[in-house]
């Protein structure tokens, strides 16, 4: 099959064509690229070409838990609604929950995500079937007495995920400093270095977490992680709400990435939002995430991009707290090399999004300002990953089947 060529797209106000190579990268991009006879062609009809969004932190299969106990505070919600159900999770539940999450993320222009959830082989299968990309790590929580066996299993899981390749990036995912002990954290940091695998961890999401860390270890969470060798260019820190300036400097020095999840932080009422102005000043690498549907409850990163910007302006009581260019770059992964942004450039993966140029919300004013503050996913017309069209005209042919299967799994779980 010939590779896809997109014609008549609008890139920074200029009409361009984009030719995909057979290997799924961008072979050519520019005003001179036109369709050739016999090629598979997609006429963008003036649609706006932008890079896809990167969801830097989620628990994809938790789509099945959506809308369940949303008014409950965190601990009763976990104890009454989430944990009893997670205890009954089967691999097929995770597969369909993840397929549904992929469907929703594609609808909003997200083609790559960072996932932390159980049954990682099923996550990988769902990601491959959906046609997107993901960095996947199974949560590691110190449980029971045989931690050596758990650590050996983590190594095996990492090897298994590494072996999949393609759109799957193998990652480690120690859950948090309050659920994983020092020895396991050191071990997982070592595995991360040995495999050159990313390590994602929840950090500094709530104030009690910080207080408890100081109480137990005498230092704040980022310093504690650094003492165990966990902070590196391979590290993704989800949340980072309660970090102080010294921690931000340390994280910047180590080259670690913080992923802000404003919707989840506000929904769980942790009392603060991630401090972008300070992180920017410190030079920290930053991305944006939705977190899981259990605590958001949508996986629409384009919506959360607006929320991120609004929350920053609100928290700083300063309308200049975040520039629209920075906000957009954060949502596309361009402010954190580890996350896997796909710039629109020859040789990069042919992953891109076409936006409806006649969407009312994109038809006035400055494009980036509109993308951040006005546009929503009704403007996302076409999504392409690795040269393959996953959505066109907002239509997703597999939607009803995926929703039906996921519903079956949710009912089985009593959700």
């Amino acid at each position: 099959m010939s590779a896809l060529t997109v014609t008549d797209a609008s890139l920074d106000g200029e009409r361009v064509g984009l030719r995909c190579a057979a290997d799924g990268t961008i072979a050519a991009l520019g005003p001179e690229v036109a369709a050739e006879p016999g090629e598979e062609t997609l006429d963008a009809a003036g649609a706006i070409l932008v890079p896809p969004l990167v969801n830097g932190h989620t628990h994809a299969a938790m789509t099945l838990f959506r809308g369940s106990g949303g008014d409950l505070p965190l601990m009763p919600w976990l104890e009454e609604r989430i944990w009893p159900v997670e205890a009954k999770l089967e691999p097929e539940d995770v597969y369909w929950g993840t397929r549904l999450a992929c469907l929703e993320m594609i609808r909003s222009g997200t083609t790559r995500f960072w996932d932390m959830y159980w049954h990682p082989a099923e996550i990988a299968r769902a990601v491959a079937d959906a046609g997107v990309r993901a960095a996947i790590g199974a949560p590691f929580i110190d449980m029971g007495s045989d931690l050596d066996a758990q650590r050996a299993a983590a190594r095996e899981q990492l090897e298994m995920l590494t072996g999949i390749g393609g759109p799957i990036r193998a990652a480690l995912a120690p859950h948090a400093i309050y659920t994983v002990g020092e020895e396991s954290l050191r071990f997982l940091a070592g595995l991360s270095a040995e495999f050159d695998a990313p390590l994602q961890i929840h950090l500094s999401e709530t104030k009690p977490e910080v207080d408890d860390c100081i109480g137990a270890h005498g230092v704040r969470p980022a310093v504690y992680l650094d003492q165990l060798g966990v902070l590196s260019e391979r590290t993704v820190l989800a949340h980072g709400v309660w970090l102080d300036d010294e921690e931000l400097d340390l994280i910047a020095a180590r080259g670690a990435t913080i992923v802000s999840n404003p919707a989840a932080n506000m929904k769980l009422a942790v009392g603060k939002v991630f401090d972008w102005p300070s992180a920017r000043a410190a030079g920290v690498r930053v991305g944006l995430g939705t977190d899981g549907a259990g605590s958001n409850d949508s996986l629409d990163l384009l919506a959360d991009l607006k929320l991120f910007a609004l929350a920053q302006r609100h928290a700083a009581a300063d309308a200049t707290a975040v520039a629209v260019d920075d906000a957009w770059a954060i949502a596309t992964g361009a402010k954190a090399p580890l996350l896997g942004a796909t710039p629109l450039a020859v040789g990069e993966p042919a992953d891109f999004v076409l936006l409806d140029p006649d969407a009312p919300e994109l038809s006035f004013g400055e494009q980036t300002a509109d993308l951040v503050y006005a546009a929503d996913r009704t403007a996302v017309d076409t999504v392409v990953v690795s040269g393959k069209v996953l959505m066109r005209g907002g239509r997703q042919p597999e939607r009803d089947e995926v929703v039906a299967k996921a519903r079956e799994r949710a009912s089985r779980l009593g959700l």
Copy 2:
């Protein structure tokens, strides 16, 4: 023409039909309502029937200003971008800006809005042409020396709007306590009583407004308004961010309505959000608004419903700060009789929304929780006002024409 009958809709989990009367009200609603031969029928195919949203505060025609200078702080934004352009506004600009706003609001399930903007006759024409409903008041700002002439013009405008009737509700709109003096405020309060016309005013949006009011009048803004006779069951107070508990008690006692605009408040970085838990405790009537596209920049109230709930939980650092049922009721106008909610009941206007039952975001968990936290306007399938279908399958046939005309007007204004 026979009136519309909707079949196979889902209302609170039950299959129902809904028959519209020729006068645009609901003639019948329930499981027994079925299509009759020769009737105009809409097969909802299991779609979820909900009341429409009510946008309690906006400046609709400011869609033309969208994305213009969004990173600027408030005063430079007004002085450099907004006011110089507003000085050049022609009636036709307001007509097409309002048509565009109506299009966007219909897309997100909003069928009634409260508008404060220039050239109210053009707003009324646009509202009627779009098929929605609005309460309209031209901003009143004390300008120049001939305030008597201004007040006489306000009376004439109110009479003109009152004469239109139908979907248009005539309102008064003194801009704010810092732009309208005591004498004009007393006059407009009198007009409001004389015509039984609603009066909308921006109140307590920023802390400087409160401080200046105390400095000038020795009392806080709500007390000051009350001393001038402005607080009544006819009053809509937009924002109310910096009100204290005594002011909330006073507003509740007078039966006035506060409309919260969380997106605009966060975008303009006013430093606080409206305090729903205190307002609820005081018994205040509350609605939700988008504010104008200049300071939001979207008119999607369904998105702002989530933002409202998140902002409340965040501000209170309490995940139980707002119940999903309350949030939904606020967005549909059901918590403030003045705003004009249209309940799904026989004899009420046949205004309603059908939501896609297979939208992933509505397919799991509790419906109201999903509506508040998960669903977005991609789930809004059909919008009906007064028995007339304004949108079906998410398609709005007039969209491209309205966008094109509005773009022409925006270019003319140099936007």
